[in-house]
């Protein structure tokens, strides 16, 4: 598990470990960010979210799990359990961890079908893409692509 146990409530996980819907979590996060109006608060909050990312062991930081397109290094791996996808990740920088944390908040414990079909518009909604320069956006795109790829594989749909 990648989330501290006491943070279930705020991450949308209920007792059954079934998360809220992807759109709902995004709504919630967007609302959280709405209170922050300068870049310092936004980044502080983002990096703070990143603290929840528990990290991977050295052995799990394989080349296979490394996301291309990140200037900082980001590793991400997933596991399918009861038709729900769980994400495990790490990074060597605070900001990338914050971005992974956002993604994990939204997608952790969701079904592969939902992951593939629900839109992910959180970055635009929280003004992150305006602030997110292309390289960082690239990293984000890489992480999202990886999560969706794993979801597709999980669905048995190997048309990559």
């Amino acid at each position: 598990m990648w989330i501290n146990d006491d943070s279930n409530a705020s991450t949308g996980l209920n007792m059954m470990n079934i998360p809220a819907s992807i759109p709902d979590i995004q709504d919630q996060l967007a609302a959280d960010f709405e209170f922050l109006d300068d870049w310092e608060e936004r980044y502080a909050y983002l990096m703070d979210l990143g603290k929840d990312v528990r990290g991977l062991s050295q052995e799990e930081k394989t080349l296979d799990n490394l996301i291309k397109g990140c200037q900082s290094r980001v590793w991400l791996t997933t596991r399918l359990e009861n038709n729900r996808l769980w994400m495990y990740a790490d990074s060597d920088t605070f900001i990338a961890r914050g971005i992974i944390a956002l993604l994990i908040r939204v997608f952790n414990g969701q079904t592969p079908a939902d992951i593939l079909s629900e839109p992910f518009d959180l970055p635009e909604r929280i003004g992150l893409t305006a602030h997110l320069s292309p390289g960082r956006a690239n990293g984000l795109a890489g992480m999202l692509a990886r999560i969706r790829y794993d979801a597709a594989v999980a669905l048995g749909d190997r048309k990559n």
């Binding site: 310092e40 980044y43 920088t93 602030h131």
Partner: protein
């Protein structure tokens, strides 16, 4: 070359260029980034361009554009004239003995590779040694690795000390009877270290060793006098000296260049071509296959004019003043550690903040409109030497000013505060 910039009188009664006016010449500097005025500290990656350079290229495309060297018509002749005048100007700028010693290339990387291939194939054999320093940019390391792999020669590296310097004693020791080539950067792009180029070349020449200087980081910052330096080859890029991308120079002593076979074949570099064989044209054309980057060379020529219109004495004074100011400011920021403390330093400061990834710091500076470079600066082995994966690098040019450095100082402090809060 006397300054044509409206001058201010300094406190010592000396006239000084009007640096604010000069700064206004660089359109890209006057914009805001993430809601803040841009402060550009990434000159060592590529310089900003003065209006004069941009205009020279625009003018070329709007009025003289034609292919060079083979045309009888007026436009082609005009293009040839400006292209060849740029060669003459570059030769003079560097103090070359002859303009045919100036080969236009697509950049430092192409220049060094040309030598590593052509000179390397002709002169390197198994057992020979090529010497470079531990400070090199990949552009002056990888081509020699490739040349050594091809020819069986060995690549040796003069070690870097803890201050980020290469000692002349170490160089002297490693310039052995087996050394054929000593290729080194005059100024390190990663640390700012200035190497004693003239002394090293002299040492090498006395032992009959060919020398190549990677001057990529020199051209916008120091005057070059090839007759004093005495190196066999010298390489640089226009884009790091206020000129355009895609343009570089390979200087070589004529008698040495004459021993080089062309690496690329094509138009302009031949004398006679038959289906069976071809003979090569004279220098410099022999080493310039195909249509050259005509507008790029014209931009380079305008960049030289620009630098000379300010004058080296003023540039040197200005840059050393800005450097001292920045060093002092950054040195006083808690958690900041300089990587490299060379005694002779050009306008580059590499640093890390303890426990902070350069990427995080760089990102939070960018949010404040501060552009600097983070990463390995194309010098991975050097980073490994310092046990780090990268640094933040501030690099300065004549167009920077004190206010920007003040903002840099404050911006780093805010960024570190933010990170420290998270880090708790």
């Amino acid at each position: 070359m006397s300054s044509n910039w409206s001058a201010k009188t300094g406190s010592e009664g000396l006239t000084r260029p009007d640096w604010d006016a000069i700064r206004l010449e660089f359109p890209a500097l006057h914009q805001s980034v993430n809601g803040c005025p841009l402060a550009y500290f990434d000159h060592a990656a590529t310089s900003q361009k003065p209006r004069r350079v941009i205009n020279a290229m625009t003018h070329y495309y709007q009025s003289d554009n034609a292919n060079v060297h083979r045309g009888v018509h007026n436009l082609s002749q005009r293009a040839t004239t400006v292209y060849e005048a740029a060669r003459t100007k570059t030769a003079r700028f560097l103090g070359a003995a002859d303009s045919s010693e100036i080969i236009f290339t697509s950049g430092t990387t192409a220049s060094i590779n040309l030598v590593a291939q052509s000179w390397g194939n002709a002169h390197l054999k198994p057992g020979d040694e090529v010497l470079v320093t531990g400070l090199e940019h990949h552009a002056n390391l990888v081509p020699w690795q490739m040349a050594c792999t091809r020819t069986g020669a060995r690549l040796k590296i003069v070690p870097v000390n803890e201050r980020g310097e290469v000692s002349t004693e170490a160089v002297s020791e490693m310039l052995t009877s087996g050394t054929r080539m000593f290729a080194f950067c005059w100024i390190s792009n990663a640390l700012g270290t200035i190497n004693p180029a003239q002394e090293w070349v002299e040492m090498a020449r006395k032992r009959g060793i060919t020398t190549l200087i990677d001057a990529a980081q020199v051209v916008a910052h120091k005057p070059i006098n090839l007759q004093e330096i005495g190196c066999d080859f010298l390489c640089f890029s226009a884009h790091k000296m206020m000129g355009p991308t895609g343009t570089g120079v390979l200087y070589g002593i004529k008698s040495v260049l004459e021993t080089l076979d062309p690496v690329f074949g094509g138009g302009d570099m031949i004398d006679e071509v038959s289906y069976e064989r071809s003979t090569w044209a004279d220098l410099p054309y022999r080493l310039e296959a195909g249509t050259p980057n005509i507008s790029g060379v014209i931009g380079l020529s305008a960049a030289i004019d620009f630098l000379e219109s300010i004058g080296w004495a003023s540039i040197l004074e200005r840059e050393s003043e800005l450097l001292s100011y920045a060093l002092e400011k950054l040195r006083n920021i808690p958690r900041i550690r300089f990587i490299g403390e060379p005694k002779l330093r050009s306008g580059v400061i590499s640093f890390i903040a303890d426990g902070v990834h350069p990427y995080d710091l760089g990102t939070l500076l960018d949010e404040q409109g501060i552009a600097l470079r983070t990463g390995h600066h194309c010098a991975q082995p050097l980073m490994r030497h310092f046990g780090i994966s990268g640094t933040c690098r501030v690099s300065l040019a004549l167009y920077n000013n004190h206010e920007e450095i003040d903002r840099l100082d404050l911006a780093i402090r805010s960024a570190l505060r933010l990170i420290t809060n998270v880090d708790k």
